[in-house]
């Protein structure tokens, strides 16, 4: 492990012996983050950190709002996974009106699941094809002009177009259920606000068989890419960690509702069928001075040992099986490849993401044959409560929404643990691994620095819902000596032009 690279020797820092390198911003992720490295005189990495430099404040400014606004309001956290926030908040406000998940009308439960399968499908397609496929298809140190989905469309038109259509289909599922592709409405306290019409259902049924075939092709592509580059893909940015996710009571992979399962590095189950409403006892969050993102950890294991990973790799590692046939066959092949109880390869996030993409497509296909989707029995009622907790498996991992309200139905307290926050320690550890194994002691170049970004992108971090560039994000790298004097500079302009020198 590489924890020792989180903070450099203070004596070296005080003596001015280290030079600073920054990758700012990290591109092709959602939001704004940067990586800083401290190097010694031999270019050996002494410190590596992923910083989140923007402050959102959502937990604060939703205080004072009426609770029923929450599912719509919190969608603004993200332009890529708004549905996940919408549904996590909806599950929380279900509890505020006294409705537990088991008491939700079947039609509402299935419509929410359909909505969420559409969300995960479109988000996974976006991440794999738009953001990560340039690295995987052209190489981690490929020319800058190739590192975007337009180049993928040009060189691999069939693959690129299938990716675009997979994402579009997921968005259409969202639109049919919630009225809009982004920031629609659908879930309300205790249920859903409308059923699917027969026309909407039939519209989605037209293409779903093709979507399943394309999802299978995407899975085959990532499997081929991964297994064609062994052992590199198994080792790059790879760290051994614990994994946290929801599972169904029977141990199946679960994206919408279940109990918390945690497994350790060897695959031993530490926690199972844990009620997520008790998450404050399970998880604590540490704040560090150099980033706006917290560091969650398992209370029982403490800060040093209790960090964990969430997301597709965690879900596929943790579950006993997947309840759709093609995705289950893919899971079995994935586990067979590793030969271990747990797969720790960070680049395997991509592989598991495509297993889940296929699972979502199969699940949508199955749900569209369910007549409950057309039922108008959509809302349950119960006894009012003053605290609600909603947890869901968002595309990037387990997402917690926790609210308290006063007697006037006004939100008085909110706590959100978003998926990327749970992966914070892991992303930093992967960055440190790449810095130590691939960059340390070398002259840093822009293509080499992309290795750091490849490691971060594997997690599909959602650093905010801000808009950011793909491949052509302005990037400036500076080498500054101990006296603050600029030693070297690399600049990537927004046009894609790359300049080495002081200007």
């Amino acid at each position: 492990m590489y924890e020792h690279l989180e903070t450099a020797d203070p004596a070296l820092v005080a003596a001015g012996k280290l030079k600073r390198v920054a990758v700012d911003p990290v591109s092709r992720v959602e939001g704004h983050g940067k990586v800083t490295l401290l190097l010694d005189e031999d270019n050996k990495v002494q410190q590596a950190r992923l910083h989140i430099v923007e402050f959102r404040g959502f937990e604060k400014f939703i205080q004072g709002r009426p609770y029923w606004e929450l599912p719509v309001m919190v969608q603004r956290l993200c332009g890529i996974c708004p549905v996940s926030h919408h549904l996590a908040a909806a599950k929380a406000i279900d509890q505020l009106v006294g409705v537990d998940p088991a008491n939700l009308p079947p039609a509402a439960d299935k419509l929410r699941r359909l909505l969420h399968f559409g969300q995960v499908l479109q988000s996974h397609a976006l991440h794999f094809f738009h953001l990560s496929s340039p690295d995987l298809l052209f190489g981690f140190e490929s020319e800058i002009g190739k590192r975007n989905v337009m180049a993928v469309l040009a060189d691999y038109p069939d693959i690129g177009l299938q990716g675009v259509k997979l994402r579009k289909y997921g968005q259409e599922v969202i639109r049919m259920v919630s009225g809009k592709r982004i920031h629609g409405t659908g879930a309300i306290a205790g249920g859903m606000n409308k059923a699917l019409t027969k026309e909407e259902r039939d519209y989605l049924k037209q293409d779903i068989a093709q979507i399943v075939i394309w999802a299978q092709a995407a899975l085959q592509l990532v499997t081929k890419v991964h297994t064609s580059h062994l052992p590199y893909y198994d080792n790059f940015a790879t760290i051994r960690s614990k994994y946290l996710s929801l599972t169904k009571p029977n141990g199946a992979l679960e994206l919408y509702h279940g109990g918390i399962r945690v497994k350790d590095e060897q695959g031993e189950t530490l926690v199972d069928h844990y009620d997520y409403c008790d998450y404050p006892e399970l998880i604590r969050e540490e704040v560090r001075s150099w980033t706006y993102m917290k560091f969650p950890y398992l209370t029982s294991l403490g800060k040093a040992e209790g960090w964990y990973r969430v997301g597709p790799l965690a879900r596929v590692n943790n579950c006993d099986f997947i309840d759709t046939p093609q995705a289950e066959a893919a899971r079995v092949e994935f586990k067979r490849h590793s030969g271990e109880a747990m797969v720790h390869s960070t680049l395997a996030f991509h592989w598991t993401r495509m297993i889940e993409l296929l699972h979502c497509a199969e699940s949508i296909q199955s749900l569209l044959d369910d007549p409950d989707l057309l039922s108008n029995d959509l809302v349950a009622k119960g006894e009012k409560r003053q605290e609600g907790i909603g947890v869901i498996e968002a595309p990037r991992g387990t997402l917690f929404h926790h609210y308290q309200i006063d007697e006037n139905d006004i939100v008085t307290k909110a706590n959100l643990i978003v998926s990327t926050t749970s992966n914070n320690t892991a992303m930093n550890e992967s960055v440190r691994q790449v810095a130590a194994e691939y960059l340390s002691g070398r002259e840093l170049t822009e293509p080499l620095l992309n290795n750091l970004e490849v490691a971060i992108r594997a997690y599909d971090p959602c650093l905010s819902c801000a808009t950011h560039a793909v491949g052509k994000m302005p990037l400036q790298l500076e080498l500054v000596d101990a006296d603050g004097k600029l030693v070297d500079k690399l600049i990537r302009h927004s046009s894609g032009e790359f300049i080495h020198g002081s200007e």
Partner: protein
């Protein structure tokens, strides 16, 4: 379910004059028969919007423009590859180029309705001048999209 006319107003409703695209769609929703017209709104043009251009007879994009010399301008669009691509935003011409590269179907006539704008502060409403420009553009597009005008184009 594809309708022959697509009107795509894009912009961030929370950023002052950038809201004119979505606001014009609201106007059309209140003033036109939408049986043959699809109204589509988003913050920015993205790659997958190329698929929204399929099976259309007419496409109109609506956007705020700081360099528009008049209240509004209605100009035909042609596909053109440019350097505007980011993860979230393309120009209309670049989007048409994406459509041509991924679709075997011919492209419908496409137009850009640019509305003169000047202020894009987060959390503000329309500037007075832009609101007046929007009103003129609304009436113009309403007229253009009436069945008697559109049919035969």
């Amino acid at each position: 379910m594809t309708k022959p006319i697509l009107v795509f107003g894009y912009g961030n409703p929370s950023r002052g004059d950038d809201a004119v695209g979505p606001l014009l769609l609201d106007y059309l929703a209140d003033h036109l028969d939408l049986s043959t017209i699809e109204l589509l709104s988003d913050f920015q043009l993205q790659i997958e919007h190329a698929l929204d251009l399929q099976d259309r007879e007419l496409v109109v994009f609506i956007d705020a423009a700081v360099n528009c010399p008049n209240s509004f301008a209605f100009t035909p669009l042609s596909p053109a590859q440019d350097h505007t691509y980011t993860s979230h935003a393309l120009s209309p011409a670049a989007l048409l180029a994406v459509y041509q590269s991924v679709s075997k179907q011919p492209l419908a006539p496409c137009y850009l309705l640019s509305i003169q704008a000047e202020a894009f502060e987060l959390g503000t409403g329309l500037s007075e001048r832009c609101a007046a420009n929007l009103a003129k553009a609304c009436r113009f597009l309403e007229e253009i999209l009436k069945p008697t005008h559109f049919r035969g184009n």
